[in-house]
Symmetry: C2
Subunit: 240 residues, 2 copies
Amino acid sequence: MSLPLHERIRRDIETAILSGELQPGARLPVEHELMHQYACARMTVSKALSALASVGLIDRRKRAGSFVARPKVHSMVLDIPDLEQEIQQRGQMYGYRLVRRQVRLPDHNAADETALAGKGKLLLLKGVHIADDVPLAVEARLVSLSAVPEIEALTLEGTSPGAWLLKHVPWTEAETRIAAVAADQDTANHLLVEAGAPCLFVERRTWRGDEGITLVRQHFIGSGYDLIARFGSSRRDTDS
Amino acid sequence: MSLPLHERIRRDIETAILSGELQPGARLPVEHELMHQYACARMTVSKALSALASVGLIDRRKRAGSFVARPKVHSMVLDIPDLEQEIQQRGQMYGYRLVRRQVRLPDHNAADETALAGKGKLLLLKGVHIADDVPLAVEARLVSLSAVPEIEALTLEGTSPGAWLLKHVPWTEAETRIAAVAADQDTANHLLVEAGAPCLFVERRTWRGDEGITLVRQHFIGSGYDLIARFGSSRRDTDS
DNA sequence: CAGTGGTCTAGACCACTGA
DNA sequence: CAGTGGTCTAGACCACTGA
């Protein structure tokens, strides 16, 4: 029992909520009562309850008390896997084949591109992610050269530019859009499937503060890839 | 400036990190130094730094100090929209058409179903989500009747069972799998598309504690639906 | 207006770990 | 072994808000 006391209090209450012993809407003991129960200072109780409130398990209202929150959860945590790592974990060989590289100005008809470029140029990198010689995804990536000038000098032949960026350029914000689309002819050729085959389309933008870093559009072969999102204590992923 | 002091300290440091003034790996002032800077007690500083550490912006190491973390973020927050609400926000009329309802025992060859059912039966609800008379998604849902016995007596004709469950049955854990698949003939018929058309496939399981509540498989029409995941301060979604 | 949570103080002892 | 963060105490004043 080297568990800190505030952590023990937090878990006790969390357990009572998750087990259903404390129903949504139920009122928790007030802080002074918990102080006596655990024979501790109010700050310690407060720390435990604040932690529960910050993850949305309870609602705290002045004058009224603390209450078990109704799970209003419409948001889950989506794992964005590092492709290279994931493929290697499956026991396959990862490869990235660069098919096109170009430095150019943003297309002024594409708001995406002008916003990303800022006042500089863009580096376009198009390539294919490969697992054991089988193409898994094709990606077209734009990198802002004003945000990441050092990438222009690199030869990114065999390595995924996404992995390089992740290591070398910290980002603070990202947005990912996920959809299902039919492969166009070019995508189909790269993925060795028929045109029209279903692909998981992932479009991600990343920023550092207000400055755009990169915009990537990936088409994953439908039969070979899926994404997982979770909510909760996520003890469930231990059995896979 | 009615901002609590610990919050002000937190934001000051957060701003310095996000603006790049404090680079990843940089060492933060030690707690005692911040105490003097802000003329406050150590607990107040500690609260600010703990908050930053809990969101992963800094790493704290005993004897060494606190450091700006390298963003190692491979996880984002995925919004699981309430279909009805989202469709209405687009200015369209939401509808749900139930096409099949059946109470049955779990298929003993499907581990999914036996795990969900526990010792009870399952309610199968198959239906179509409709936006302005246009089908948007077809879903097949299994509900554990031992977890949610009250659902058996309901006539869920025009309302989405997902929305009903969300309101009436609190859950604590969920897992969502997302993939792109080709519509089979039955799905295609319901969605009024050609067989083979790309669909976003969403499979979600929810639990309350250890008890399974529901398992739903949804096929969204590829052209009409996508999912968004975000990481960061997410001020970006204000302009949409 | 009284009870509740929010914040804050000025200490204390401790565990950890890098110099 | 000395500096750092982790935890905890026993108070205090305050803002808020429902009875």
